[in-house]
């Protein structure tokens, strides 16, 4: 980012902060804060170990300093401003889930990616409320301003949980550590992981069944101790087996001799089954949930890498939320920017902008986005652009 662009972006952020408000976390005085500022050098430096005793103090700080990124600790500390983590005296932490495009989908356009992550967020909300019993009312959601969503849960009884306890929840939503033998026991009802796992396994055996006969036989007899006869018999009763798998109330004793081939399939096709399980999981970023001393972006602040608002949301608001419209805070006034890339298409505010290398006139909102992403620099204004 050149000096002119930097000044422009900082000026736009400043005007946003003058009139807007943030979703300040409860127990403000027990949180550590960290900020990254607009600096000419490429090196990123965070000013952290800060604390604020009142909302006004925080607001004044943000308005005067105009940070590029603003974060607070999910943890509560007795001394949040202490310079080392040990001295801060941890007293608890919010429960956080971070859904980031990196863990969900790759290599698709930005808007498609955001839509996929939103779906994943809805899936996670469904598991947390429908299965684990968390109330949707106590979940605070936020679009991160970048490529994903955050869920904040502040139930008092989980505040002092360590990483181990949090790992139980994150492993549950991600489907990590499923024990096939347990999943195949008789279960009471047709939901939760037994049903999902058994459906995934049914799909996998059906996939083996839809290979041509020779291929399927080779696949099965490739397992140690599985002969032609066993494999052929297995293939013949595949539809029946798939139906048994799909009925979670049916007991299948995995370590019985007659199920040795099923056991071999589960071991031999581990990767494929894992993929099918992942498709049914909510792919949240695990370490974020188990880390009890993490900093998280302040909802209502701007994301310096996109210019979008990290948007506070409730579960009810998530359905209609469109980040490329609702997280955009800047207007339609025309701005000239100089694009570095040969050509690009950007969906924003309900339009698709086709841009080419060189100077383009775009709405302010798009100009801020492109400059923050380092795709463009501000052109024109008082300066000549050479065009």
């Amino acid at each position: 980012m050149n000096a002119a662009t930097l000044a422009y972006i900082k000026q736009r952020f400043s005007s946003y902060y003058r009139t807007s408000s943030r979703r300040i976390p409860p127990a403000l005085a027990q949180r550590e804060w960290g900020f990254i500022f607009f600096e000419p050098s490429a090196e990123v430096h965070m000013r952290r170990h800060m604390s604020f005793s009142s909302r006004q103090e925080l607001t004044d700080y943000i308005r005067s300093m105009v940070p590029a990124h603003a974060y607070y600790s999910t943890a509560y500390y007795a001394y949040p401003a202490a310079p080392t983590m040990n001295d801060k005296k941890w007293t608890g932490a919010d429960l956080i889930f971070d859904l980031d495009a990196d863990h969900v989908v790759r290599g698709v356009p930005y808007d498609v990616m955001l839509a996929r992550v939103k779906e994943e967020t809805q899936k996670l909300v469904g598991m947390l409320s429908g299965e684990l019993g968390f109330s949707e009312k106590t979940m605070e959601l936020a679009f991160s301003g970048g490529r994903g969503y955050h869920i904040h849960i502040r139930d008092l009884e989980i505040r002092d949980w360590g990483s181990h306890e949090r790992r139980e929840l994150v492993d549950y939503v991600c489907g990590i550590g499923l024990d096939p033998a347990i999943m195949l026991r008789a279960h009471l009802r047709d939901r939760g992981w037994p049903a999902r796992y058994r459906e995934a396994l049914a799909e996998e055996v059906t996939a083996i069944g839809s290979m041509n006969r020779g291929e399927a036989m080779a696949e099965l007899t490739g397992n140690r101790g599985i002969g032609e006869k066993t494999a052929a018999a297995f293939l013949d009763r595949l539809p029946e087996l798939a139906a048994e798998l799909r009925d979670a109330s049916r007991e299948i004793v995995l370590n019985s001799p007659k199920n040795r081939i099923l056991q071999a399939v589960i071991a031999g096709r581990e990767e494929q089954i894992r993929e099918r399980v992942r498709a049914r999981a909510a792919l949240t970023d695990e370490p974020v949930t188990t880390d009890i001393k993490r900093l998280i972006r302040l909802p209502g602040s701007l994301h310096g890498g996109s210019g979008f608002r990290a948007t506070p949301l409730s579960v009810a608001e998530l359905g209609d939320f469109d980040p490329l419209v609702d997280a955009v805070v800047f207007g339609e006034e025309s701005m000239k920017i100089e694009l570095g890339a040969a050509r690009m298409t950007v969906p924003l505010l309900g339009n698709r902008y086709e841009l080419c290398r060189g100077v383009n006139a775009v709405p302010e909102a798009l100009a801020v986005f492109l400059c923050c992403r380092n795709f463009a620099e501000i052109a024109g204004g008082g300066m000549r652009t050479g065009a």
Binding site: R167, E168, I182, P194
Partner: protein, 343 residues
């Protein structure tokens, strides 16, 4: 007829409020215990409690002898003060396991012993917060318990869950009570013990830390890299090859080597195999993890290693363990035994 807890029960269940009231009403104070001659016997008993807890062959059976009610209750309380002074996570955890397992044993005896009373078992269990016929637990309460239980069957992901309630089976109740109690005992530990008091009990602490050192040597013996679990071997190889390993990986190596008794200087040597070795930074990290800062860290379990993507090259030994440390201890013991057997 309502069942009442007797003083004799307080010796079995010293964690009860009633037990603590019992000794308080008799005018025992910490000062008195530390200065009187009868107090010395209590202090010795407290040390014995901790040393017994350190032993991995911990078992309660009918040979257990209860001493006087006061002595049992007071040694229980003094032991708790001592471990707060020592501030070693492993020792603390072992004492918590010891005390909760001791309670589990006496609860069991309420059913089997002719002088036992099932009604008392119910009363104690309710004080712990689990009913004898409990069929389900709320997810949050369950997770607190499951986090400390190792078997895969306890993982939340492997449970039947309906509307925020986790189903539990009758045969699991005993383990659940023990684990719940362990957590309660841990939570109720004194937050801090004045330094002045800790220095007065230093001779007792010395006896415990010495026993702990001996115990470590006994269970892990000389360090043999050949029996390291594949995850740790892979991490060490990665360090040596100059690969940039994540902080979680460095932590795992350091905490593992420290726990099996490696000296910080030797651990630093392991890291010095890296081409970009930075002495002062490594020394700082190693000393921090191995307890210089006051907290000793235990190495991550297999589950944690999996979460961080550090569980690699699994082999047959991995099937039977839930912790890299158990892998090392078991494999070393079995393979050494094999080699000692004459052909």
């Amino acid at each position: 007829m309502a069942v009442r807890l007797e003083p004799e029960d307080f010796a079995k269940y010293p964690f009860l409020e009633e037990a603590q009231d019992f000794v308080r009403a008799r005018g025992y104070t910490l000062e008195k215990i530390l200065t009187s001659s009868s107090g010395k016997i209590i202090a010795t008993k407290a040390v014995d409690r901790i040393i017994a807890a350190l032993s991995s062959k911990l078992r309660f059976d009918d040979t257990i002898k209860l001493e006087s009610v006061e002595k049992e209750i007071l040694s229980y309380s003094i032991a708790r003060i001592l471990i707060v002074c020592i501030n070693n996570r492993t020792i603390t955890e072992k004492l918590m396991h010891y005390e909760s397992d001791r309670v589990r044993y006496f609860l069991h005896r309420e059913l089997t012993d002719e002088r036992g009373d099932p009604e008392k078992k119910r009363i104690i269990m309710e004080k712990i917060g689990i009913a004898p016929d409990q069929e389900a637990l709320p997810v949050n309460a369950y997770v607190e318990l499951a986090a400390g239980l190792r078997d895969d069957a306890w993982r939340l992901v492997n449970r039947d869950i309906r509307n925020g309630m986790v189903r539990i089976h009758p045969e699991e109740i005993e383990s659940i009570v023990r684990e719940k109690l362990r957590i309660i005992l841990q939570k109720k530990l004194p937050r801090e013990v004045p330094e002045e008091l800790c220095s007065r009990v230093q001779p007792l602490i010395d006896r415990i830390t010495k026993a702990n050192q001996e115990h470590i040597l006994e269970s892990y013996g000389d360090i043999e890299e050949g029996y390291f679990p594949p995850c740790i071997t892979a991490l060490i190889a990665a360090v040596a090859s100059g690969a940039n390993i994540p902080h979680t990986g460095r932590f795992a190596i350091t905490a593992f080597l420290h726990t099996i008794g490696m000296h910080p200087a030797q651990i630093v040597e392991v890291f010095s195999r890296a081409p970009d070795f930075d002495l002062s930074r490594t020394v700082y990290q190693v000393e921090h993890i191995s307890g210089r800062s006051g907290t000793e860290y235990t190495p991550p379990s297999c589950a944690t290693m999996r979460t961080y993507g550090l569980c690699v090259n699994r082999d047959g030994w991995c099937e039977h363990v839930h912790h890299p440390l158990s892998y090392y201890r078991d494999r070393k013991k079995k393979e050494q035994k094999k080699s000692e057997t004459p052909a």
